[in-house]
Symmetry: C2
Subunit: 190 residues, 2 copies
């Protein structure tokens, strides 16, 4: 339900709609390739568009990154929703959802890294999607804790912390983020 798409009035010119999408795709690729260093001109060039156009759609670099964060969370929420439909040992279902998110994140680790380094202004935009995701993950956690296979003092609040920890490892050459993930999961299991 939240603002993942079309913040503008429903009627947007066809080329504008196309460009908006192209910019977001380009931004993802650009940040994945250059991380932090990525600049607005890069994004524009990749999208085959002028900077002016980028700014028409996203008034600020932060706004662009904010939209990227929203999409990220929307994907995570999607994974969580699918996880809730599966039956199986609840902790393992939870773990599988996490693995899936991490594998997806590892695709564009540098982009994720840049987003994590971004200021609050960027993350605030994702407030709504984030709340939705929290609700879904909460349910996954509840099931596992009820089954007694997850440490009882773990809460959804801790999720971003753990996930950021793991994904910050992805950007570093030579760091084995899967090992990190295994250790954390072992720490959560009961």
């Amino acid at each position: 339900m939240p603002a993942t798409d079309s913040p503008q009035p429903r009627t947007m010119r066809a080329d504008a709609r196309r460009n908006r999408e192209a910019i977001l795709v380009a931004a993802k690729a650009a940040f994945a390739a250059q991380g932090d260093e990525t600049q607005m001109d890069d994004v524009a060039a990749r999208a085959g568009v002028g900077v002016g156009t980028v700014y028409r759609h996203f008034p600020t670099k932060e706004a662009l990154m904010g939209e990227m964060v929203c999409r990220k969370f929307a994907l995570i929420a999607e994974h969580a929703r699918e996880g809730l439909l599966q039956d199986g040992e609840p902790f393992e279902v939870f773990a599988a959802v996490l693995w899936r998110n991490c594998e997806a994140t590892a695709q564009d680790a540098a982009a994720q890294d840049a987003l994590m380094r971004a200021g609050d202004a960027v993350w605030d935009q994702a407030h709504d999607v984030m709340a939705e995701m929290h609700g879904l993950v909460q349910q996954l956690i509840d099931r596992a804790q009820t089954a007694g296979t997850m440490r009882a003092d773990f809460s959804v609040q801790d999720m971003p912390m753990l996930m950021c920890g793991v994904s910050s490892a992805m950007a570093h050459e030579g760091w084995d983020w899967r090992r990190h993930m295994e250790i954390v999961l072992d720490g959560l299991r009961r």
Copy 2:
């Protein structure tokens, strides 16, 4: 043995020596207070010195930050060295050293965060101290693994990854890094 102090020839004018130290102290405080945002002028002002003086001692911002990293690792190495002298269940000794490092880091979380975000150029300067520290921590790990109380596939190489994960949580308001630490330690314990 490595270049934690006096890269210049042994004879340095008294005021220069004093200023160099003041600058490093100021830098730590400045980065602790403003993290990433910290600029050279801030450091100079806090040290009660002109920017030119800062640049006389550290040719570049990266060089200054590099020295900060060196000092950080020197401290960690120190803690590890003390840990090696203690007897007690080896895993718990290892854990205690980690806790001690983390508590120290939490004092100036924002500074640590800024250093972690810094480029390789900054970290390369710490190569030697880092190697020393690795050797010491390796011994702590060996003992615990020999005792069979630490997961066998854990290696010193994974340390920075885990520690960065934990300390990146410190900078965030409302994230409970101690919880993170407990989970990781539980994941390492056997």
